[in-house]
Each structure stands twice: as structure tokens, then as C-alpha cells.
């Protein structure tokens, strides 16, 4: 039995909360039985292992610890680390700004720094655990096919998680001191999202740019770029510290030990340094809500517009004025940068590149529409006001759908227009695909609508797993349909039919269709 106020006592408290949070998330707030969740977890794990087998299985016994392997593994590790850093930044920012139990902790006669130290350690642990969970199938496949030395990668992934947490803590505190609590929240959250996407996008951009430099002129896959002579010639010498994570992953026990110990030490130092002043930062962040807001402009004349138009305008105004939501919803558009680049480089070269771009546009439209539809339909902050207005429910829904589709048209029109200069057929398939994917995602959000605060946007997936998966499958189906249609084959009907089945099935599974 630990004494109240000690590190162990706080750790027990935190682990209990974390466990119950996790359980609630996995069981959708208790609606699913634990046994069902366990079965689903096993199925997902098996599926991930099969996926890993298909991706890395054939390389398992072939990887030699040479320069190429070091570069490719370091690239992959950097990709994974950027995602860990993104998640860590998000967690640290949430810890600073979410009130939750902070009032209780700060007003109690215990040393708050102990609680904060435990909380930060838990954060680091959860980041590493998530990374290990995702990496496990790949490590296991490599270990089975290539030897037990690959198991060292578990230690390396844990070390990368610890460093990501330490960097996130340092970065957030540095932002706090440099630009103050008001801007830190927004900048850190945008940084988290951009960092999460940047490396993937960067690799794609390099692959596109390198297309002309390859002997065939074909665009390289994002990982093949890492093995090119150009990249290898820029890589440091084999004994450089840069390769330590890769060498640890490859099973050099000595390197792994030093890497793991160093990363844990870095995390410990970061926690000790930050925990000391954490309370001050939390108080500074909490004072934001009490500070007087700045005027946003002068009063202008009211305009006479219909209720439907008023609703549409309200949706766009709310979105426009919330930079965090803008960054979250429009993050999908970042993934359009590589196709935009490809589009730019393809002017005059015909439809081959255009065929690649169409499904990316359709997929991004589906994802973006899903997010926007959730905001407009479920994330209504004044539901009672809108519901008590003398406007037909169907008109309210129509206005919200129009707001979503309007935003989609605004975001995708430039791409489709540029595509039209290359090929009218591809532009047409893109228009139909974008609108169908957007309509499908919006319909799913409408069927599964559940009132929530807009600030819960990031956690919207937890309200319905069915809606989340249906949205993804629907977007994938319409993207495949558009790709095949753009290529001019009747096979497009197959994924199209699958898309319709997904939507029909989802409608039946929804609370309103059951």
C-alpha cells in the first residue's frame, strides 16, 4: 500500500484513470462487451501481421547491415518518430490546457510536481506503447523470417518514443516562453498535425521530383527514394551517431543499450525540468479564459437573408474563425501537395499522371467532407436554438449539407480546373468522384449524428466505430472507382458497387436505419 502524495501513489492513480479511459474508448463507452473487443483486437492483430508479411516478409532474410539498409531503416524510423512526436505534442498541449482535475491537484497540499512528473511519464509510456503496438507486426515478421536479432527493434522503438516525448515537452515549454500561452496552444497543435504529415509528404515530393532523374523517368516509390545513389551520397559515414537508431533496430545490443539508456535519461531530465514549472504553465494557460477578449470588429448592418443561407453562413464563419479546427479539417489538404506537384509537372505530358491524381483528390474529398459534416451536423454548439427555430428540420439539414459541399467545392475546384487543362475526361471523373465521396461521407455522418461539442472534433471517431470505418471504406471505394473510370475501364463498376454496398449497409446499421 503506497502512501498518499508519493510518486507511487500518483502512478497508481494515473494508471487506473488511463486504464479506464482506454477501456471506455475500446468498448465505445461500455456499449460493446469486453469479449467482443478482445476478439476484434485479435482479428486486427492477425490482419496487421498479414499486412506486415506482405510488405516486409520477402526482405526479412535479405537485409544486410550495409549503408543502403541503414539509410532506409533510418528513413522509416524518422517517419515513425515524426508521428510519435506529433502525438506527443498533442498530448502535452492537452495536458497544459485541459482543466479536468488540475484545479483539484493545484489546490491540494501535495507536491504537484510529483503528479505532473508521473503524468508526463505516463504520456511518454502511452506514446511508446502505441508505437510498439503498431510496429510489433513488422518486428515479429522480420524476427521470424530474419532472426531473433530483429527483436531488438522493440527496444529501439521504445527509445524513440521516449525521445519524442522529451522533445515534445521541451518544444511546448519553449513555445510557452517564446510566444505565450494563447498562441502556444494553436501553434503546437498545428505543429503536431504538420509534423505528422510532413515526412510522408516530403518523401512523396522527393519521389515526384526525382521522376525525371531516374533512368525510366518513372516516379519512385517513397521508400525507394531513400535507396537512390543521390541520397546515399549525402548520407554520413557508417560510424556516425545518425545511424545509431538503425543499428539498434538491426540488433546491435551494445548500441541498443546505449541508445535506450540515453533516451531514457533525456526523458528523465526533460520531465524533471518541466515538472518543476508545470504548475506555473498550467496557471498561465488557465488565465487565458479569464482574460478580456479583444473586439473582433465594428458592428455592421444586419443583412436580410433566408434562414438556410443564414445557417450556411454561420457554419462557414465558425469554421473560418477557429484556426485549430481549420488546421485539423484542412490537414487532409496537405496530402494534396504531392499530387498538386505532380499535376504541375505533368502539364503537356498527357493523362498518365492525371490518372494517379484523380483517386487522391477523391479520397481527400471524402475525408475532408467527413470532418466538415461532423462539425456541421453533430458539432452544433447551439442545438436547442436551431431545433426551436421555425425552420423545417429538412431545411436545416439541407443547409448544413450545402455548407459542407460548398466548402468541398471551394477546396477542390482549383485542382479539378487544373486537371481539366490536362484532360477533360479526368476532370469529369474527378468532379463526379469528389462529389460522390463527399456526399457519401456526409450521409454517413448524418446517419450517425450524435450531439457533441465542436471541441471534441479529434475524438469524434470514438462515438461510432462503424461510422469511422464506413467513412474510410466509402472514400476508398469511390477513389478506386474514380481511378478505374479515369483509366477508362468498365472495371470501375466493381468498386462503385462496393461503395454502394458500404453506404447501404451503413445506413442499415445506423441508429436511424435500424
Amino acid at each position: 500500500m503506497s502512501h498518499p502524495g508519493t510518486l507511487v501513489w500518483f502512478a497508481r492513480h494515473e494508471s487506473r484513470l488511463a486504464w479506464r479511459d482506454w477501456l471506455a474508448m475500446m468498448t465505445a463507452g461500455g456499449r460493446w462487451h469486453t469479449r467482443s473487443v478482445a476478439i476484434i483486437c485479435i482479428i486486427v492483430l492477425v490482419a496487421l501481421h498479414l499486412l506486415a508479411l506482405s510488405m516486409v516478409g520477402r526482405f526479412a532474410g535479405l537485409i544486410e547491415p550495409d549503408r543502403t539498409a541503414l539509410v532506409v531503416i533510418t528513413g522509416c524510423a524518422l517517419l515513425a518518430w515524426s508521428l510519435m512526436l506529433s502525438q506527443a505534442l498533442e498530448s502535452v498541449t492537452r495536458a497544459f490546457y485541459t482543466r479536468a482535475d488540475l484545479d483539484l491537484i493545484l489546490s491540494s497540499p501535495v507536491a504537484a510536481r510529483k503528479m505532473f512528473a508521473v503524468r508526463m511519464a505516463t504520456m511518454a509510456l502511452s506514446i511508446s506503447a502505441m508505437a510498439l503496438l503498431l510496429a510489433a507486426p513488422f518486428i515479429n515478421v522480420l524476427a521470424i523470417g530474419g532472426g531473433a536479432h530483429w527483436l531488438a527493434a522493440y527496444g529501439a522503438v521504445a527509445a524513440l518514443g521516449a525521445i519524442a516525448a522529451a522533445v515534445a515537452l521541451a518544444l511546448t515549454v519553449a513555445l510557452f516562453r517564446a510566444i505565450g500561452p494563447r498562441r502556444t496552444r494553436l501553434i503546437a497543435q498545428i505543429l503536431a498535425a504538420v509534423i505528422g504529415a510532413a515526412f510522408v509528404i516530403g518523401l512523396q515530393v522527393v519521389a515526384i521530383v526525382s521522376a525525371d532523374t531516374t533512368p525510366t523517368g518513372a516516379a519512385l516509390s517513397r521508400y525507394a527514394v531513400l535507396g537512390t545513389d543521390a541520397v546515399l551520397s549525402l548520407a554520413p559515414a557508417a560510424d556516425s551517431l545518425v545511424w545509431w537508431p538503425a543499428r539498434a533496430i538491426l540488433g546491435e545490443i551494445g548500441v541498443l543499450t546505449v541508445f535506450l539508456a540515453t533516451s531514457l535519461a533525456v526523458l528523465l531530465v526533460a520531465i524533471l525540468l518541466v515538472a518543476r514549472n508545470f504548475a506555473d504553465h498550467v496557471i498561465a494557460a488557465s488565465s487565458l479564459a479569464q482574460s478580456a477578449p479583444k473586439p473582433t470588429g465594428s458592428a455592421r448592418a444586419f443583412r436580410q437573408i433566408s434562414p438556410k443561407r443564414m445557417l450556411r453562413r454561420k457554419e462557414w464563419t465558425l469554421l473560418k474563425r477557429d484556426p485549430w479546427l481549420v488546421s485539423q479539417t484542412l490537414m487532409q489538404l496537405l496530402y494534396l501537395l504531392p499530387p498538386a506537384l505532380l499535376l504541375w509537372r505533368s502539364f503537356g505530358s498527357g493523362g498518365a499522371a492525371a490518372t494517379l491524381i484523380v483517386p487522391v483528390l477523391v479520397m481527400a474529398a471524402g475525408q475532408l467532407a467527413g470532418g466538415l459534416a461532423w462539425l456541421a451536423i453533430s458539432g452544433e454548439d447551439a442545438p436547442d436554438l436551431v431545433a426551436t427555430a421555425p425552420v423545417k428540420a429538412s431545411e436545416i439539414v439541407a443547409a448544413k449539407i450545402e455548407a459542407v459541399l460548398g466548402a468541398i467545392v471551394f477546396a477542390f475546384a482549383p485542382f479539378v480546373l487544373a486537371l481539366a487543362f490536362i484532360s477533360a475526361w479526368h476532370a469529369l471523373t474527378a468532379i463526379v468522384g469528389v462529389l460522390t465521396a463527399a456526399a457519401g461521407a456526409t450521409a454517413i455522418q448524418f446517419w450517425f449524428r450524435a450531439q457533441a461539442r465542436r471541441s471534441y472534433f479529434r475524438r469524434r471517431q470514438t462515438s461510432s466505430r462503424v461510422a469511422t470505418f464506413a467513412e474510410a471504406f466509402s472514400s476508398i471505394a469511390w477513389a478506386a472507382t474514380a481511378a478505374l473510370a479515369a483509366a477508362g475501364t468498365w472495371l470501375a463498376l466493381v468498386p462503385g458497387a462496393f461503395g454502394l454496398i458500404v453506404l447501404t449497409g451503413t445506413r442499415r446499421l445506423s441508429p436511424r436505419g435500424a
Binding site: 473582433t296 458592428a299 448592418a301 437573408i305 454561420k314 454548439d381 427555430a389 421555425p390
Partner: protein
């Protein structure tokens, strides 16, 4: 002249009956207060009147309009304010009022004049062009009240409108409501602050277990409870205890 609100045999069940065959009539130009213990069915009743919940059985007429058959027409003359102010953080109070006026189809110029009057009347002038996210709960409640009044409803329904308000704001809100009633409007309000009901209401209804167990002026309620000169608190507790024992 039809009553402002006429409810007959209203039923709503969740896990158990929340409203159980409720009959209630509120006259035009009346300040009517609904009292009841927690979970008595007050909020559920008012949410059904406002069109936020569909009853399982019964009828609701607002100024003679069947609110279940023609909800849009009924909603035109009703404003609803809950205890949690429902406003948009990223809009300014003036923008919020423009939005509400637009939903109720109020002519823009008229809405603007009324919005500025309300902003001044409720002491929100300094905050008129600030986003609502920085406003205190009392200020947000006032913005919500202004939103309810900007379309000039003939029936205002309020669920615990004074919760969390400071004394000055509470007095201001009470003044606004009294003014509405003086000008022929109808106010229907739930509250746990019995003193407010005692001072402001023309008639008081007491709900328990989803039914109206007593109704009338304070004097009539005292008679029903058999308590001569008792306070409303004593009368209310006696009526609820009597119902629980029955």
C-alpha cells in the same frame, strides 16, 4: 382568446415515465412558474413544448396552434432558454442576434434596431463586438436572453434561467421578464429558487412524478396544502411529501 399554452394528457417515457399524463393551461399575459423536485419532469415537459422532444402521447397547443401537427407555426411565437446558455463562441453577441433574427425571419432593419436596444438594455454594449468565447456565464445568459427576445416571441419558456447569475444580472433578467409580461407576453419558467416564484409568478404549478399535483396562486397553493400563512417553501415541501406518501 386561446390560452398561450394548453397541454392535455402529455406522456413521455424514457426508462420510466418522465411525464405521465400531464394537463396544464397557461393563460396569455401570465407569468407561470413550474416547481418540482429533481427529476419531476419539469424540463422534459418544457422541452416537449419547445419542440425539442416528441411526446409519446398527448397534445400541445400554443396560442391555439397544434404544436405537434404544425411545429414550424408554433415555434414562430416561442422562445426557449435553457440553464446552459446556447450560444456560439466564435460569434459576437451582435452576430448571434443577427443569426437568431434570420432564423425567425425577422426583417433585417427591424432586427438590427431591436438587437441594439436589447444589447443596451441588458448592459452588453461593451461586449457587443467581442466574440462570445470570452464572456462570463452571466453575460452568456444575457446574450441568450437577448437572442430569445430579438424575434419578439409571445411565449418565452425558460428552464432555470437564473442559475449561476450574480445578483445584479438576476435582477436585470427578472426585470426584463416582468416587462414582457406587463406588455402582454407570456412567461413560463422552471426554477428551484422558490423566492423568485413567490415574488414573480402569477400562478405556480407543482409537478411531481410527471404529474401536476397542485396549481394556483400562492394563496391557493397554501389552501391546497392546508398551511395558513406558511412560506412557499413549506407549502411546496408539504405538497411534494403528500404526493410521495400517496
Amino acid at each position: 382568446m386561446p390560452p398561450a399554452l394548453a397541454i392535455r394528457g402529455l406522456v413521455k417515457r424514457f426508462d420510466r415515465p418522465a411525464v405521465d399524463g400531464l394537463d396544464l393551461v397557461v393563460r396569455q399575459g401570465e407569468f407561470y412558474t413550474l416547481l418540482g423536485p429533481n427529476g419531476a419532469g419539469k424540463t422534459t415537459t418544457l422541452r416537449m413544448v419547445a419542440g425539442l422532444l416528441r411526446p409519446d402521447a398527448g397534445t400541445i397547443h400554443i396560442h391555439g396552434i397544434d404544436a405537434l401537427a404544425d411545429p414550424v407555426a408554433a415555434k414562430r411565437c416561442v422562445a426557449w432558454i435553457s440553464d446552459e446558455p446556447m450560444i456560439y463562441d466564435k460569434l459576437t453577441p451582435l452576430e448571434y442576434l443577427e443569426f437568431v433574427a434570420g432564423l425567425w425571419g425577422v426583417e433585417a432593419r427591424e432586427a438590427q434596431t431591436r438587437a441594439h436596444e436589447l444589447i443596451g438594455w441588458l448592459g452588453l454594449g461593451a461586449q457587443a463586438t467581442q466574440r462570445c468565447e470570452g464572456l462570463s456565464k452571466g453575460m452568456r445568459q444575457k446574450v441568450a436572453l437577448a437572442g430569445a427576445l430579438v424575434h419578439d416571441p409571445s411565449v418565452i419558456i425558460l428552464d432555470e434561467p437564473l442559475t449561476g447569475l450574480d445578483a445584479g444580472s438576476a435582477r436585470q433578467v427578472k426585470g426584463v421578464l416582468r416587462e414582457r409580461v406587463a406588455n402582454g407576453g407570456t412567461v413560463i419558467m422552471t426554477t428551484h429558487i422558490l423566492e423568485v416564484a413567490e415574488r414573480m409568478a402569477d400562478r405556480i404549478g407543482v409537478i411531481a412524478a410527471g404529474r401536476l399535483i397542485a396549481q394556483g396562486t400562492l394563496a391557493e397553493l397554501r389552501d391546497q396544502a392546508g398551511r395558513g400563512a406558511a412560506s412557499l417553501e413549506d407549502t411546496f415541501l408539504a405538497l411534494v411529501a403528500e404526493q410521495a406518501a400517496a
